[in-house]
Amino acid sequence: MKKLYAIALLLAAGTLAFGAPPKMPVFRFENFTTANGLPDNHVFTVLVDGDRVWAGTENGLAVYENHAWKSYTAADGLAHRAVLALALDKRTGDVWAGTMGGLSRVSGGRIESYTQLNSGLSNDVVYGVSVEGENVWVATAAGGCRLNVRTGQWSLYNERNTPMAEIWTYAVSATPTKVYYGVWGSGVLEFDQKTGRWDRYDDPDGENEMVLFKDQGLIHEIVTSVSYVDNILWAATYFGDSRYDGRYWHNFLAKDSGLPSNFTNVVKGVDGKRAWFGTDKGLAFYDGENWAVYRPSLADGKPEMTVRDAAGKITSVAVATAPAHNYILGIDFQGRDIWVATAKGLSHGIHQP
């Protein structure tokens, strides 16, 4: 008996020593396309509101409720059929949609749209939107905007009143303390709600696409997505990703992390330690040490999940499903489940115990 116990202990120790893969979340993905109700397979963004899920597609805004999709189009008042960004006002349940033709507010089924012609919105191409209290922050192709829904006043942020070198704002993440803009070619802008001051974070390598100083600042100037959670900023670029704690930067590149590609469309922080990344080569999760990647295999398209531990060892996990496509554009959470917007469908990752 003692012998058997010793063997078991040895086996266990051996497993640890030889790098048993860390436990990472496993999902069963259910995918939605036009075949089962989506208005378009090109899904730019996804938003979870309790039991409802909103999807911004190239051909309308869709909401999934009670196992059925309902779509809103320009004929319903949507500013444009292509919906690029979504944000929820958790207090009122209103959904704000950034589109290629303006900003829309969906409230109790009624849609009000704001454009550069009928309102103070600076530009009709709205890439990002974020709700903070009574303010709706917007990232447009001509700078940032803030709409105060109580007063109806618009405030515009551009090269004239911020350190923005380019005005092509691509993403925004607003909280009561800080607001971050991801700017295409101008790094990250930070607005301090208390002081009203703007700061700018740039890639210390400038516009050089080589990384000379890896953790000394933002990984690249072309910022595609920002997510500010628990006082931690997560920033995605087309050349890697960054985490900033207010003092130190930590950057992630495909060559030295579990990131499947540097080309990152979206990042969404779970908290200060964990985040999800949507790249052109799959969906990735980082738990603070280890990485998991979920995708159809680049080689044969079959469902694939790989885990990379802190030491860099990569292990495959057998899975039967994967997100609808590798080109990931949007991410949101529904409890332990995940919803993923891809270039060819919307995926619901159902967490497996």
Binding site: G93, R105, S107
Partner: protein, 632 residues
């Protein structure tokens, strides 16, 4: 001078003399007409019974009070001063607190009904118009007319939790008997969601906003097609039938066709399980209209619906069994069928001037009606449908000229078949958010936006084309010729009406900061408004400066200009510069309402800088200009 001309001149002089005397008497700058001796009329707007039926609470809009009467003897118990121009009130479910929304000072008065005194006054939002408390006593809901939303407050502290988007001009609220739903209505139509270029020629759209009281979120918006002007909403005791009082304007055809039924249908929309889909039913009858429905009450046993009709000065009584039988037995729509109401309207009870709010006793036997413009309460026996008492509220004993003018403004008695009064389009002496085809010059010609009346004194000429040199002309011959198609005013009536219209003051501007201070954006916008050189240092010709045409304290030079907005269907492009007082409230804009927002005046309709030099402005600067205009 011919005798005809002498008579005409004499009539004009008489009008002007009467107007001058009345203006001299009129010095009180409140929202409504004051008495000859300066004492305010009570102007009862709403009534409520205490849960035990012993007290009658009367909301007095002009004297800024809640008056408490003994509901049996009608003896006065107490007058409680509240805020300015109270517009709505309701009791807490236990009857211990009475909440009052004060529309002109943006406050909520909380009255302790045991002490009959104001226990708290809370700041709320822009022009609070009604209030309800949820059944749990946890939250208050306040409908804000100017900010177009429903504020959700902590019922214990008055602290605002959030605001829910409502219809434009959110004004009236009701809670379902089980407390699960709150229904809100609004008096101006919602803006068109889609830009087609023909928004000003599309039928208006309104809604009943349905709120889940447990979560305090909007869960549904019940559409009211072709409706503009939705007032009180009532829910039956079993929760299966709802009714809203509303106007169904026919603004897309010339108003000159009044004799063809061309101005309004006055209707109820029914909703709830009893009717399934919403059903709109007419209150009008053949050759007589139920003008300007406002208050709605449903009998506790759901046998009757009572509707006050402010312009017709009646209470319309509908038999619910017959109404439901009619709806189920006939194919709609019923809106334009003037014979329909004979199937379900069982009485039209004459009451006082401009009846508004109404309330039923718990047993449904007694109905009380607030007659706003003669300071009375009508008590009606619902078995006989007869007025059993007309209770005169304490106050002025004479009827002043402005007060008579206000009565004329609100009544429909002068128009063909009692169809419309001034207030049909100028709701609560404001506007209606609609464009109208007024003149008999062919369908679709000379479409005009309906303008705000407040502060129009001394801004002549009137009409968009400046065709009327003064208010008596605007309100007299024009109105008689095109609108009433019926009885004309005598000289004194017209003079009184003109005095009343001239007396309408502007409401407080909600975009100025406390103390009337401007924001930095408003200051920057003011500089743009007043500039005489453009951004390229080129002088701006006088006619292209904002401040030239929109000069003076009210923002009008009172002159006519062509700002390049003439449409092929317009008879002229030369238009009077409209005043700017509270311009932020009065969308749509331009003479024909083709600009949905202030921004569109310049982003869409000013390609050649004829409507001011603006095309050199950046978006930030245009936003600043608009921030300034909103503060006017």
């Amino acid at each position: 001078m011919s005798s005809r001309l002498q008579n005409a001149v004499g009539a004009v002089l008489a009008i002007m003399a009467a107007a001058s005397i009345a203006v001299a008497l009129w010095s009180d700058h409140t929202a409504r007409a004051a008495s000859d001796d300066g004492e305010n009329y009570a102007s009862p707007l709403e009534v409520l019974l205490s849960p035990d039926g012993a007290r009658l609470y009367v909301l007095c809009e002009q004297s800024d009070e809640v008056r408490v009467l003994n509901a049996a003897s009608y003896a006065s118990i107490k007058n409680i001063s509240v805020g300015r121009a109270p517009r709505g009130f309701s009791l807490s479910p236990d009857g211990k607190r009475l909440f009052v929304t004060n529309s002109w000072d943006d406050t909520l008065s909380v009255i302790d009904t045991a002490k009959l005194s104001v226990a708290a006054t809370w700041p709320v939002s822009a022009e609070p118009s009604s209030v309800v408390e949820d059944r749990a006593g946890r939250r208050l809901y306040v409908a804000n007319r100017i900010s177009n939303d429903i504020a959700v407050l902590d019922a214990a502290t008055g602290v605002e939790e959030k605001r829910l988007l409502a219809g434009r001009g959110a004004s009236y609220l009701a809670i379902s008997p089980d407390g699960s739903r709150i229904y809100a209505t609004h008096i101006y139509p919602n803006p068109s969601p889609v830009r087609t270029g023909l928004e000003n020629r599309m039928a208006p759209e309104s809604e009943i906003t349905e709120i889940d009281a447990a979560r305090a979120v909007v869960v549904e918006r019940i559409p009211l097609h072709s409706i503009a002007g939705v007032f009180h909403v009532a829910i039956s005791g079993d929760g299966r039938l709802g009714a809203v009082a509303e106007y169904h304007p026919k603004n897309l055809v010339p108003l000159a066709h009044l004799e063809h039924g061309g101005a309004f249908a006055y209707t109820l929309t029914l909703f709830g399980a009893d009717v399934g889909k919403t059903v709109e039913v007419s209150l009008d009858e053949l050759e007589r209209y139920a003008s300007q429905p406002f208050g709605v009450a449903i009998a506790p046993d759901k046998s009757r619906i009572y509707v006050t009709c402010g312009g017709s000065e009646i209470v319309t009584v509908l038999d619910v069994v017959r109404l439901l039988r009619f709806i189920r037995g006939h194919k709609g729509p019923f809106t334009r069928d003037l014979s329909a109401s004979a199937n379900y309207v069982v009485a039209r009870i004459p009451v006082g001037h401009n009846p508004r709010g109404l309330t039923l006793s718990r047993d449904g036997r007694r109905l009380f009606v607030a007659n706003r413009l003669d300071d009375t309460i009508s008590a009606i026996d619902t078995k006989t449908n007869l007025v059993t008492a007309t209770v005169k509220l304490a106050g002025p004993t004479t009827v002043s000229a402005p007060r008579r003018g206000e009565q004329t403004f609100y009544t429909a008695r002068y128009s063909f078949q009692g169809q419309i009064g001034c207030s049909s389009c100028h709701i609560d002496s404001t506007f209606d958010g609609l464009t109208w085809d007024l003149e008999p010059d062919g369908f679709g010609r000379d479409i005009v936006d309906n303008k705000m009346l407040e502060d129009i004194k001394d801004t002549e000429p009137y009409k968009w084309n400046g065709g009327n040199p003064d208010i008596p002309t605007e309100c007299g011959p024009r109105t008689e010729k095109y609108f009433w198609r019926s009885e004309t005013y005598d000289n004194l009536t017209l003079a009184n009406l003109a005095v009343y219209v001239r007396s309408l003051p502007p409401r407080p501007n909600r975009w100025l900061q406390a103390g009337g201070e401007s924001t930095p954006a408003q200051e920057r916008g003011k500089a743009i408004f007043e500039r005489d050189v453009d951004k390229f240092k080129k002088p701006i010709p006088e006619l292209n400066r904002c401040s030239y045409c929109h000069s003076g304290p009210k923002g009008t030079s009172q002159k006519l200009f062509d700002v390049g907005t003439r449409k092929p269907t317009d008879n002229t492009g030369v238009l009077k510069a409209p005043m700017l007082t509270n311009i932020a409230l009065t969308a749509p804009y331009l003479h024909d309402g083709s600009a949905r927002t202030l921004e569109e005046i310049w982003t869409v309709f000013n390609p050649d800088d004829k409507h001011g030099r603006t095309n050199d402005l950046t978006k930030d600067e245009l936003n600043d200009l608009i921030e300034y205009l909103r503060s006017r």
